[in-house]
């Protein structure tokens, strides 16, 4: 996730592995900066898929927030593109009208959500209420105690 204001630069490493964002041996920061530059420099009318070194980046923009996923060329680009949207909708449901700040201050929860949806770079769950089940369980536990 990248914000165009550059105040929020979060790399959620959970989407790793198969759709490997991290290139082995390469400094993380350099890669991030590269990807950020690559996506931010693109215009609205350009398509949402861009080849960057040996990965293809699929990105989607929500106001100032960019969500970028690196995929190998065997991946179906549109399905990833919609997966991003699905993820955002889940966040939106959980935080009720999600904002950058929600993501920023609740990183660990965002991670839980992402972990429920994607593991090892594979989609595991797309149903919103099931994705949120563990977090809701958590809230209940907190309420109970």
């Amino acid at each position: 996730m990248i914000s165009s204001h550059d105040s929020l630069r979060l790399f959620l490493a959970a989407a790793d592995n198969d759709d490997k964002v991290r290139v082995d041996g390469e400094p993380r920061a350099a890669l991030e900066a590269d990807v950020v530059r690559c996506c931010l420099s693109r215009k609205k009318e350009q398509c949402s898929f861009v080849d960057h070194r040996d990965v293809r980046l699929v990105y989607r923009q929500y106001a100032a927030l960019y969500i970028v996923v690196g995929v190998t060329d065997t991946e179906n680009e549109l399905s990833i593109y919609e997966l991003i949207h699905n993820f955002v909708e889940v966040l939106d449901k959980y935080f009720s009208r999600v904002s950058e700040l929600d993501i920023m201050f609740n990183l660990e929860r965002v991670h839980v959500i992402l972990d429920e949806m994607i593991q090892n770079g594979h989609v595991v769950e797309t149903n919103k209420s099931r994705v949120l089940a563990p977090l809701h369980a958590l809230t209940k536990m907190a309420d109970a105690s």
Partner: protein, 926 residues
């Protein structure tokens, strides 16, 4: 649902995050972070035991700092401690930190494994999930060893919760990838495949990922998954979306699962079972049909999800490549997308169509969209889309449309983005070559390429055009004419100068008849570019000049003047200087015949894969070439890597040798020796150099010595009392000869009579290479002993020593003298003193052949005098031996006796020693 408050429960963290956000500069941010890191460090080191909440808070801060892009090198232990907490939130932060920050080689793995083991056995699904996620994320070998047996059990157990099954499936996938030897699937296979039938679509989704990965490794074991996936897909595709409410996304039924199932099917060929096959075809048709139906929602999410499935279905259709109707339908569908207003769709349609183009069933259908694609090239605003359009044009090109496509690509090239120019150049070059019926078109196209985008024309491209021109004599004249015209432009690209120099050097003669392109005009034209060019191009031009000297003797003087100028002979660049010196020398000393041989037209190149194609393959696999697109379907992604590692260097090196080195220097040039020494009698090899020695009495050129390592060839010329011998040392092996020296042995007996001067040679002879050494000699007075050449070198560590007797004999300094019968006999009588005549009667060792004998006598150096001897069977000859001190007149008479197979040889000279030596030499020749 209660809205979640910011930084819920962790005030310190929220404050910290706010602080960071309020930082005005990067420096301030780093300062704040360092302060926090110091604080956390002191807390962790402090005496006071931290409670779970504080640990969680600090670990979470570290995590946040890491995600901001800073490196974290402590806190791991505290995170591991959190695993044993009973509070979900604490446990979760611990696992999160480990997943993100612990690499698989960490020392902590054993401790982490402990925590995981407890959670897996806890029967609390939430805890189990956390543990499984962690294994899947870290995936180390030690973890695999610890849990490889548990996970399949959890996955297929009847009482496992669905969400745990999902995690277990992905976890198993990871372990299978990192340590396949530890997770033998054998006994679980059937039950894993059966998960495709699971009622819960989330489980099916996870299982499909797992099975796809496993099926790529061992397709046979998972064959049964084909039937199950078709059944599952069919139910999803044909059901009304209401059945799958939970997994419907904007009115599209389970789009992600559908995509995965379609991808799993791409691991296999079309099903053989007819009913299964028709069921699959029905599914694919339904998906294609749905694309034509009016959308159920105006939302872009709806159409995107629908099209994600559609594109995957088309991928499967292309992968099967067996149903012509489906292929053509797919093509038409993509054709519609080519004009869609969504850029993403146009992009993907172009990309998919590239693959359709390589199928024989749909190639024609793809071609019908050519105009649209060409239009995309012109109007598309996104360079990545234009690039796909270029790819597609390349893929759909065949003989019927090549001219149009190449023309369009050339037009586009004029304004193309710099980033893709080189690739377009390569593509145009390949298409032009591949589909050229008329090679004049090919030559025009390549010259256009150089004109439009000279900077992007790589070496391979111009090498290739030269290879083709050399191999096809029908186009050589045209090529010469065209480059000549192209070179007239006031500013032309250096690559054009290279091609021009090379082609005119080889084939300039074909257009020299026209006075507008006479040799001098050609030369002046080329030379006018010389000073603007880089060193390699200048070197090439120098080679072209020496070729001109051979082609056009009339410009020899002009070119020699150019070569002789200080800017050439004293050029600071070693290569240029050497070429100038060598070429100048060559043009001065070599006879026309030798020049013609050395500078002969290049022989045709062996046919092989175009180096350009190899280059394009190297450039990057994705979507560039139909060939590679096919392999893309092998999914592993290994294909591209293989391409990359194998390709570098191999491509350019051979073509470089071909084009530049062969014609570079006449001295070390490869096989020249064989051509120059067409005397085949000399080629029989033997180690006894004495025998070869006598073969050189009547001739000057040939191989004097040869063994498994080395061949020594000679070429010599004499004039009066002076001689020069070229000694060629050919390395017959593929390894270097080191410390190579060759010198004349100091046999003093001959040195006063014969002055010899030897130039030194380079101490290294490369494998397969040849070096030349020059010996100059002067005959002071008559001599008998021949000089001996000593050769020494290291081959593979062994020192090799050779001594070869050089065929420098007295008769080499003969000048033939023509005289009349009367003169001859008058002289003959004058030399009548007994010590002046030497006579030998000997048996013929070789068949008595008049012509051979005549040739030998001439080769011996004297003039063969016809109709001098009253007996026509006899041979007489006359000549003068030139030495520095005296000249010795010499008469000889050879009388064969065919019946007795005998000869009588009589030599009369003014000096006895000369007569004797000459008689000895000549008598051995018959």
């Amino acid at each position: 649902m209660p809205a979640v408050s910011k930084g819920d429960g962790m005030r310190g963290l929220a404050v910290f995050i706010s602080d960071i956000r309020n930082c005005k500069s990067k420096e301030a941010e780093i300062k704040r972070i360092n302060k926090e890191l110091a604080n956390i460090r002191s807390k962790f080191k402090g005496d006071k035991a931290l409670d779970g909440y504080s640990k969680k808070k600090y670990v979470c801060k570290l995590l946040f700092i890491f995600l901001l892009g800073h490196d974290i090198d402590f806190g791991h232990m505290e995170a591991v401690n959190l695993l044993s907490s009973n509070k979900y939130t604490e446990k979760q932060i611990g696992y999160l930190f480990i997943s993100v920050l612990v690499n698989s080689n960490s020392d902590l793995i054993r401790l982490i494994n402990n925590g995981i083991k407890n959670d897996l056995n806890s029967r609390n699904p939430t805890f189990m999930n956390l543990a499984l996620h962690c294994i899947a994320n870290v995936g180390s070998r030690e973890m695999a060893e610890a849990f490889a047996s548990d996970i399949p059990r959890i996955l297929v157990a009847g009482d496992t919760m669905d969400s745990v099954k999902q995690s277990a499936a992905l976890c198993l996938l990871r372990l299978n990838r990192t340590s396949p030897d530890l997770v033998p699937m054998g006994e679980w296979t059937a039950r894993v495949v059966h998960l495709l039938n699971d009622q819960h679509l989330g489980v099916v989704t996870a299982a499909t990922s797992l099975i796809t990965t496993l099926a790529q490794k061992s397709p046979d074991d998972f064959k049964t998954s084909v039937a199950l996936s078709v059944a599952r897909l069919s139910r999803i595709v044909t059901s009304a979306s209401i059945d799958l409410q939970d997994y419907t996304y904007y009115f599209v039924a389970a789009p992600w699962l559908s995509v995965k199932l379609l991808r799993l099917l791409q691991c296999y060929p079309p099903p053989e079972d007819a009913s299964l096959r028709s069921r699959l075809t029905e599914c694919l048709e339904t998906i294609l049909n749905k694309a034509q139906e009016p959308p159920k929602s105006k939302k872009v999410q709806h159409s995107n999800a629908k099209n994600a499935v559609l594109f995957e279905a088309i991928s499967l259709i292309i992968h099967h490549d067996s149903e012509p109707t489906l292929l053509v339908r797919a093509c038409n569908q993509l054709g519609q997308f080519l004009q869609h207003r969504e850029t993403n769709l146009r992009y993907l349609a172009l990309e998919s169509m590239c693959m359709l183009a390589s199928s024989e069933f749909s190639h024609e259908a793809v071609k019908t969209h050519m105009e649209t694609v060409i239009n995309a090239l012109k109007t598309e605003r996104d360079v990545s889309v234009r690039q796909r359009a270029v790819d597609l044009l390349y893929a759909m090109c065949d003989r019927s449309n090549a001219k149009q496509i190449v023309a369009e690509m050339l037009t586009y090239l004029e304004n193309a983005d710099y980033s893709i120019r080189e690739e377009i150049v390569l593509k145009v070059a390949i298409l032009a070559e591949k589909y050229a019926v008329d090679y004049t078109w090919y030559v025009d196209t390549i010259l256009n390429l150089i004109r439009i985008a000279g900077d992007y024309v790589s070496e391979e491209v111009w090498y290739r055009v030269i290879q083709i021109v050399i191999n096809r004599d029908d186009v050589q004249g045209y090529a010469a004419k065209t480059v000549f015209e192209a070179l007239q432009a006031p500013a032309c690209h250096e690559n054009l100068v290279k091609v021009g120099g090379y082609i005119l050097g080889e084939f300039g003669n074909l257009i020299a008849g026209d006075s507008r392109s006479s040799p001098l005009v050609q030369f002046n034209l080329l030379h006018s570019k010389f000073h603007l060019c880089s060193v390699p191009t200048r070197a090439l031009l120098l080679s072209a000049y020496i070729k001109f000297i051979n082609l056009f003797p009339e410009v020899k003087i002009t070119i020699q003047d150019v070569l002789r100028s200080d800017s050439q002979l004293r050029n600071a660049d070693v290569e240029l200087q050497q070429r100038a010196v060598e070429y100048l020398r060559l043009s001065c000393i070599a006879s026309t015949d030798i020049l013609a041989t050395v500078l002969e037209e290049m022989p045709p190149f062996p046919e092989r894969e175009s180096s350009i194609l190899a280059k394009l393959k190297k450039k990057k696999g994705r979507g560039n070439l139909p060939v590679i697109d096919d392999t893309r379907r092998n999914v592993n992604g290994n294909v591209e890597h293989a391409e990359k590692t194998e390709a570098p260097n191999q491509v350019s090196t051979p073509s470089f040798t071909d084009l530049l080195n062969l014609n570079s220097a006449p001295g070390p040039g490869g096989n020249l020796l064989v051509d120059v020494f067409s005397d085949n009698a000399a080629l029989s090899s033997t180690d006894v150099c004495e025998e070869n020695f006598s073969r050189f009495v009547c001739k000057n050129n040939g191989v004097i010595f040869e063994n498994q390592l080395l061949q020594i060839g000679l070429k010599s010329e004499y004039r009066q009392n002076l001689g020069r011998m070229y000694v060629f040392y050919g390395n017959k092996t593929s390894t270097q000869f080191l410390s190579f020296t060759s010198s004349l042995s100091v046999l003093d007996s001959f040195s006063p009579q014969l002055n010899m001067h030897v130039k030194t040679v380079d101490p290294v002879i490369e494998g397969g290479a040849q070096v030349q050494q020059i010996l100059n000699m002067e005959c002071v007075s008559d001599f008998t002993e021949a000089p001996v050449l000593k050769v020494q070198f290291r081959y593979g560590g062994m020192l090799q020593n050779l001594a070869v007797k050089l065929p420098v004999m007295l008769n080499k300094f003969f000048q033939p003298t023509e005289m009349t019968s009367q003169d001859f006999f008058q002289r003959w009588k004058q030399l009548g003193a007994p010590e002046q005549e030497v006579q030998k009667i000997f048996k013929a060792k070789l068949p008595m052949d008049t012509e051979v004998t005549k040739a030998k006598i001439i080769g011996f150096g004297v003039a063969l005098l016809d109709r001098v001897d009253p007996n026509p069977e006899n041979f007489v000859g006359a000549g003068v031996i030139h030495t520095k001190s005296i000249q010795v007149g010499c008469l000889l008479r050879l009388e064969p006796n065919a019946q007795a197979q005998m000869y009588r040889l009589t030599l009369r000279t003014s000096r006895e020693s000369v007569s004797r030596r000459l008689c000895d030499l000549l008598s051995e020749q018959f």
